[in-house]
């Protein structure tokens, strides 16, 4: 059971890192960051740190929204 989790989650995290590096648009990079976090958070859960997992899951969209604030495409503003 544990080997299945380790294999699947490691594959998802490494594919997320590859997807962040080889895409050009910042939105595609943020999607790859979401994939990588989706691979990392269940690894924290099966290690037993539930409070760390809850804190990471709350902080992850907050930093993504703050990055989106800088890379937002302002079409007809100003």
């Amino acid at each position: 059971m544990n080997e299945f989790y380790i294999a699947i989650l490691s594959l998802i995290a490494l594919l997320g890192v590859i997807s962040v590096y080889f895409k050009k648009s910042p939105f595609d990079k943020l999607i790859g960051l979401a994939i990588m976090m989706g691979g990392v958070i269940p690894l924290i859960v099966i290690k037993g740190y539930l409070d760390v997992a809850i804190l990471v899951a709350i902080i992850m969209p907050l930093t993504t929204i703050f990055i989106l604030q800088a890379t937002g495409r302002n079409t007809d503003e100003s």
């Binding site: 990588m36 976090m37 690894l43 804190l55 990471v56 902080i59 907050l62 703050f66």
Partner: protein
């Protein structure tokens, strides 16, 4: 060895290499690659049994990202 430790080292090295040599020279791209390196370091710290250090590291990484975003927004555009 511990599988989280090996995966953490692989992600940490990939993030540091991607931060040093990005594909396009942009501040936002480099900042997202720094996030990858921070996630790898978090996985390395997960292999040792220190809960308070892990909580503090996650919170301080988020605060540092917010501060860097503020610096990038009001700085001059990159080369």
């Amino acid at each position: 060895m511990n599988p989280e430790l090996i995966l953490g080292f692989i992600i940490l090295l990939a993030g540091v290499a991607a931060t040093a040599f990005p594909r396009e020279r942009d501040y936002i791209s480099r900042l997202i690659h720094v996030e990858i390196a921070a996630t790898g370091l978090m996985l390395v710290m997960l292999a040792y049994n220190e809960t308070i250090a892990l909580l503090t590291f996650v919170a301080v990484t988020a605060i540092a990202t917010i501060v860097l975003i503020r610096v990038i927004e009001r700085g001059e555009p990159c080369d």
